[in-house]
Each structure stands twice: as C-alpha cells, then as structure tokens.
Symmetry: D4
Subunit: 148 residues, 8 copies
C-alpha cells in the first residue's frame, strides 16, 4: 500500500522538503503532492500563460485559476491532506483547502504552532489530527502503516 498526501499551506519557506525528508527517513511509501512552491512563479503564472492582464486584480484572478486547477486535480488524488499554518501571512487559500478537504471527507492533519491555537480553533476541530510540528505529522501517518 502506498498513500498519497497533499501538502497544503504557506509557500514562503521550505517546510515541504522537511516533511519529505522525514518521510524518507521513516521509509514511508508516500507520494507527496503540493502546490507550486516557487512563490514568485505562483503569483505570475496567470500572465505567464494567459498574457498580460488589465490590472493587478485580473492578474491575480488569472494566477489563481491556474493554481486552483493544480490544487483541485492533486487534492482529488490524495488520501490525506496535511495543512501547515505559520505565524505570518493570511494563508486564506490554505484555510480554504482545509474546508474543501474535510467537506470531501479527506482525513486532515493540521500542523500549527501552539501560539496559533485560538485563530485556528475551528480548523482544529474539523481536522482528524492536530499537531504542532512535522515530526508529529509524519508519526501520525507512519502509524497507519505500523503493525505493532
């Protein structure tokens, strides 16, 4: 058995590489999916493919059309969604992914620092598991594979 895991959340640091390395260390048979993590490209992908847009709002709309295409296809293929929230940025797209994942009955692991427990409380309640770091998230998934 192999599991597929979508890594939702902010794209401002390389937490996904950390997650993948930890999974590799544990030899977990996981295929990871993720959004475009090159922040700059993610912001410009609309104009890159569709050409110049009339203003910043339409540029954003074009970019998010492509980013959501990617998210929709990949989340649909995932057995589990991990969503990580950090101290900075609004991260509304990640919170939207949390809502979509739980509405689609995809088990969700929420990763957030303890300091964010209050603003993340409704997401925490919808999540199947809430953890504070990626070690715990990977241990949660490892548990699915373990025999004893």
């Amino acid at each position: 058995m192999e599991l597929t895991v979508y890594l939702a959340g902010q794209i401002h640091d390389d937490w996904r590489e950390t997650a993948k390395k930890k999974a590799m260390e544990k030899e977990l048979p996981i295929q990871f999916f993720e959004p475009m993590t090159n922040h700059d490209r993610s912001d410009h992908i609309g104009e890159e493919i569709l050409g110049e847009q009339p203003n910043a709002i339409f540029k954003d709309e074009a970019a998010s059309a492509l980013n959501n295409l990617r998210t929709n296809v990949l989340m649909h293929k995932s057995d589990i969604v991990i969503a990580l929230f950090g101290d900075q940025y609004k991260q509304w797209n990640a919170a939207m992914d949390v809502g979509a994942a739980t509405a689609l009955n995809k088990p969700l692991i929420l990763v957030r620092p303890e300091s964010l427990h209050h603003p993340a409380k409704e997401m925490a309640n919808q999540a199947q598991v809430v953890v504070e770091n990626l070690d715990q998230a990977m241990e949660a998934i490892a548990y699915i594979f373990q025999k004893k």
Copy 2:
C-alpha cells in the same frame, strides 16, 4: 420561492445586520442563517456548556465543537453562502467555510475590499461571484428573483 443564505465571515462588527436590512429594503424573500455573532459568547460557549477545560487550547477546542455544530447544520440548509472578509483578524474559520461551501457545490458570493484582492485571490477564483460590498452582494441575490 424563498432562498436561504448563510452569512459566513468575521463576527467583529454588525455587517450581518446591514445585509439583512438591505435584503428587507429590497423585499427579498430570504431566510438568513449565521454563526453566533456575540464574539465573547462564541469564545466561551465550550466551557459554558461542557464546564471548565484544562487549559486555553482545550477551551478553544470545546468552543469550536459547538460553533462547528452550528455552522454544519446551518450551511447544510443554505442555498447560497455569502462570505465577507475584512482587513483585520486571520478569519481562517471563514476561509474554511469558503472551502467547504464550494466543495459542497453551494454557490458562494465573496465580499472583500479591493485592497485584499491578493490574499483572497484563490478564494475569489472559487467563488461564483466576487463583490466589494454588501449592496452588490444583495443585488446579486436579487437578480435571481427578478423577472426583467
């Protein structure tokens, strides 16, 4: 025909009353649903019903269990979801509602000031209609009822 509309979003001001007043002025046959808008009570409802919790995290978990019970029941009964985002607060629960509504194929009207177009761009792309104020949101719903 009557429509039911869930008013998702921040509970720090009385924007829902504005929305309802505008609907009443237009004589729209709408039944509105909403989260608990008494912020304080929303934060304490867990301990109010379930008793004192061991710490702030568990107090939040208890409160959000009740808040999500309310949201789940009411969103399920809604034909349309309006989600309003403002300048302050993280509003992750509202963004989660956006994700849930679109995953459940509930048509979503997103209300956000133009200044927030960048962080709200993926939500905007998932929404059926994006507006900047409640007048526009109510006009969008009024359009469903109009004959000419």
Copy 3:
C-alpha cells in the same frame, strides 16, 4: 404534489410564457424557474452590479458569473429541466445546462424542431424525452400527474 421545472434555452423570444400558459390551461401544479429573459439586462448585469470592466471579454465574464449564479441556484431546486433549442444563435449555455442537468440526474425534456435533429443528436440521446414543441413537453409533464 407540486413539481418545479427549470426552463433552459434561448432567451430571444417569449417561449417561456407560452409554456407557462399551456401549463396553466392544463391546471398543472408547476412552479417554473428560468434565467433572466431580458436579453439586454442579461448581457449587462455584470457591469450593472460590479461596475465597468476593462473590456468586452471581462464584461462578459462578469455577466456570466451572475447568470450562472442564478442558473445554479434554480436548477438545483428543480425536479425537471426543459431545454428548448431554436434555429438561431449558438445556444452553448443551454447545451451546457443539458449536460449539467443529466449529470445531476435531473430528468430532461429536450424541445427542438425536427430540422435540428442532427446537431442535437447527442443531447437527444441523453434526454429522457425528446419533443418538437411545447405542447408535447407539457403533455409529458401532465402525464406524471394523471391517474388514468
């Protein structure tokens, strides 16, 4: 028992009024839903509510966001969809409604002149009933209510 019927199709003549009159003559307990049939308003509703758009494409996108909001809400509430196709115009939105209705398992009655049988053939095959005029469409629905 009352049935709800969505009247999809072109908005260039008043065929929906004919359909409603025939239903009334037969005293059928039907509530009809329909798109905005004021063609001009349907084309300008985007700018009417959302303000001036950068060009004709964006104006169309804004208008169709509102028109689809209306269609999605009303089709969801319908027991049966009638889709009428005429000789003129591309009518792609009506054909899209046919696809959506059948994918959502809404029984579909297709109304098309015999002359259009070839381009409408795949829609005809997906429809539950194919007729050539509104009299037949209303007789088909009347049959659901009849006792002998």
Copy 4:
C-alpha cells in the same frame, strides 16, 4: 503521477493530434481520451452496429447512443477535460460535455478563439481555466507537474 485528459469538442479538424504532439514535446505523462474523430464513422456508427434505421432521426439516435457510450466511459476515467470550440458548427455535444464535466467536478480547460468570447461566456465562467489556443492549454496542464 500520470494524468488522464479527455479532449472534447469538434471533430472536423485534427486539433487533437496537435494537442498530443505538444504534450509529447513537453514530455508530459498524459493519457489522452477522445471521441471518435472520424466524422463520417461517428455519424454512421449506429447503423453500422445496429443495422438500418427507419429514418434520419432514428439513424442519428442510434449513432449518438454509441457516441455517448464512448464519451460517458472515457470522461468518467478522466482527471481533466479540455473542450475546444471553433468558428463553425453548432457543437452542442461539446457544450453538453462542458456542462457534464463541471457538474461532475472534473476541472475543465476551455479553448476558444477570442472572437467567440460572447457566445461562450457562460461556459467560460464555469471553466477552471479559459485559453485561446492549445499551447496555453498544455502549459496549464504542464504547470500541475512542475516543481519550480
């Protein structure tokens, strides 16, 4: 990861071969599905398998039963649907595919020349991405696979 893509739309030129060649050039791991693109055979497949029919309408009904069998099976197996519209023909079956795909939550990429923006506007609004040519469509899919 491999993606499956259904190529809906008119069958009067060889645009699907162009799409496949572009995907191959980009080395995208895509399996393409498509309707019968031999137009003549598509029109006669009903009588070819089921025998002579009473008249042209029944011949069309027989043909579309087979064509829709093919479409239903293949669209069900697809992760993404690309629908291309051109200047000629009514293309109602393709528009019906657009409606079915979006109702089934299959992400849709709409390809249409800018000149068709008005009649295609409701389809454009339902699509996840709207482009004007196949290069852009393939770049949109390529983006799902790219890491940076």
Copy 5:
C-alpha cells in the same frame, strides 16, 4: 411527519387501491406515488404524445421514455418504495425499480407470494423487508409511526 411511498410493480390489477385503502383505514399520513396504472394508456402514451412511430419497437421506446420520466421523478420524491410481484408477466420494469431503489438507498418493501420465493430471492435479499401481502406491507410502514 408525512411519508411518501412509491408503489412499483405490475399494473394488471388494482392492488394499489387496496394498499391505499388499508393505509387510510390505519390513518397513516402517507402520500402515495405510482406509475400510470391504465395499462392501455401506458402502452400507447408514446404515440399519444410523440405521434406515430415507425414500428412496434419504436412505439415501445417512445412509451417507455414517458413512463420512465414519470417513475424517475416520483421515485426521487419517495421515502420508501413498495414493489409487488405477482404470478404473471415478466415484470422486468418492476425488478429494475427494485435495483434502482436499493442503489439509491431508498428502503424497499418487497411483496411477493410465497410461491415466488425462488425467482425473487436476490431481490428479497436486497429488500429491507420482505412480506407476502399488502396488510403486512402497511403494518411495516405503520410501525414507523407508532409510539408503543
């Protein structure tokens, strides 16, 4: 609470009137739905509405399009399906209704004489309740309303 019940099965005698009378005697708040029970009309409804057909097969196809329109709409509105099988006729449409009802998670009450237990055995296994007569079927539904 009112329940809606679809009465599937053969239309060669007046068993539905018996069922309704028994329900009335028990004062059960049930709204009954049923196929066209005028056998002759049911066989000719296709030509009645759509005009003369090329041969007996096409006449049957036209009639069943209308009969299935009726069944689909009414079964969708039903809380419970009762399917009665008798000694005569093939009754394949009723057996098809049994399959559709159970696939749609509509609780099914199967009524069949003991003598038919062998050919009806797979249907019996899919049914929620199997009885031999309409008294038992109505007692089963009455039980849903009873308090003690």
Copy 6:
C-alpha cells in the same frame, strides 16, 4: 427554522421523554424521531408482522428488518443525531447508528457518562460534540437557534 433530531441509543429507560421535556422547556422548535421504545414490541415486531419464525435467530432477523426500516427512514430525515449510551447492555445498534450518522455527515451529539469514556473513545472522536447529560445536549442544540 425547525430542526429534526433522531434520538438513537438504548431503549431501556425513558431518557427520550426527558430530552423532549427539556426541549419543550427551552421552547426549541425541534421535531424528534426515535426508534420503537417499547422494548418488548421491538423484540417481537418481526413475528408480529411476518408470522412465526423457525428459531430465535430468525425471529431476531425479522425484528431487526423492521427496526432498521424505521431507523433508516427516520435518520435520513434528521438534521442532527443524538446518541446516548448507558452503563448496561451492549448497545451495538446504537453504536452502529453512530457510524452511519457520521458517514452520512449528520452532525452527532454523543451523550455518555464520564465513566464510559474509554470504551466510547472512538465514537467520541467521530462525534461533533460529546456531553455527559441531556441538559448539555439540549443546550448544544439551543445554541444553534440563539442570537446572542
């Protein structure tokens, strides 16, 4: 707005009457549904309707066919499920109702004495709200209706 609530759980005492009285005291617009609470009748309903069965196992099968007919119809009509567990009996049917309700996305309120927290822990985790008594359960539902 009225809510419908299914009261799952043991039928050995009159806890449902207590629940209803509390709801009435709070003037909550709730319609309650429940299994047959006459334990004896619930055990014999199979033979009462279907006649004597070959042995105790088949008698039980007959009874549970009728009891599950009732549960399936009523749970399908419910907005919320309350499941109460007590100290005695195996109560597997109530635990099965918990699994069905959560799989059907019906928000579940679990009522269990603190002493049972260990055997009920997986049910508690699936529930939307976990309480220890009926006062708390009714306060949780009342919260859905409250404005401040």
Copy 7:
C-alpha cells in the same frame, strides 16, 4: 486503457463464454466479471457455507446473500455492465442489476432478442445501448477503443 465489464443475466447457458471469445477475437483489453455461472452451486451456496437452513425460503435467502455479495463487489469494480435477457425464466435478478447499474451511472448495454422488446421496453429506455446479440455488444465496446 483496460475496461472492466460485468456480465449480468441468466446463467442457464454459456453466453458469457461466447462474449469472452468474441472479445478475444477482437483483441479487446477487457477484464470480464460475472456471477457464479454454475447454476446448481449458485442455488446451494448458502447452505454450503452457512449450513442447513430451516426451509426452502431461508435456503434461498442464504444463497442470495452470497450471490449479492459477489454481484455488489464486482459491479462496483466495473466500467460497463452488459445485461442479457433470454426467452426463459423470470430473470428478475438480472433486471434488478439493470436498475442498480443505471442508478449508479454505469453505462449499460442491454442484449435482448427482438421478440422481447415489449416486456423489456423500460429497461431498453434506461440502457445506453440496446442490441440483439453479443456480436453487436462487443462491437459497441470495441468502438470505445477505436481510433478511426
């Protein structure tokens, strides 16, 4: 691409072997599923596994529990269902399979001799394709794979 096909229908002759041979001759990449075609074993499988039953009805119930387990698992795994009806036997289980398949949106190919067009007419109308023999059924499936 490989397709999976469930072969529903009577088990009194070896029509399934004919179907498979024709598929093999056409080199179609199909995996076939089928019910137990050893009629005797199908009738006795209940008692074979569960032991002697009290009477013929309970023996049939036990057998059909196992036969339906098989059908449910295999139909769920099928892309297409072929249902063949012959002149003899009631074949209600096959008609039930037709209803289940179409309710589950599995494209259905109905095979019936022309002589049975009247009793099979409602099934024919629900089917995607209706043919008279297995050659035609296999040509219909072959068409899904053909390029020109």
Copy 8:
C-alpha cells in the same frame, strides 16, 4: 483482480492472523488492512505522538484521533469489510465501523458467535452476509473469485 478487505473488530486476540492464514491457504489474492492490533500501543498512541494529556479522557481523545485516522484511510481503500464480535468488551468502535461501512455501501461480512445473535441483530440485518466463524467468512470471499 485483487480485493482489499478491512478487518474490523476487537483487538484482544489474534483472530486477524487466523483470517490471513486461511486466506493464504485458499490462495486468495487479498490485501488485508487492519487497525493497530497492539492493544497497549493503540491506547497510548495519542500521548506517544502528541505528548502528555491533562487527564484520562483527553488521553483517550488523543489516541482515538490517531486510531480513527488509520481506520478512515484504510476503510476508504477497502472493497469489503469483515467485522468480528466476541463475547467480551463493549466493542463499540467495531459496531461504529459496521455502521460506517454499510452507510458507505461497503459490503460487510459480520462474524459473531451464535450466542450473540440477539445484541447483534440490527448489525446482522445490515450486513450482506452473517457467519459464525472465520472459515465461513473466507469461503464467502473465496466465492467471489470462483468460476464454478
């Protein structure tokens, strides 16, 4: 064809090893999934991953979050669920699995000693097959693969 089977039920003895051995003896191509069967670890997994909890209830909640993550992921991937009940313990989580499996239309094989027929009667009625031992359960699954 390979089938996936989830083994729900108590984890106090090694019945799952017995089941797997019997499947291997019959050379059935089955992939088995199961909960954590190390009872001690299953009880402590919450604190193992998430750290010490405030009291026994919260420790149980933490453990069941992880156990349900595992169950949800694995049951979703299963074609068939086998649920075994024994004489001891409340086994409410297994009964909840029965409810979830049947609500999700996963065919269920219930294994229970004859002595438990009364408390398990509603589960037995929802199950596709009811047996008394693992030999019978494996014969039931073997029957799906057998040709004659």
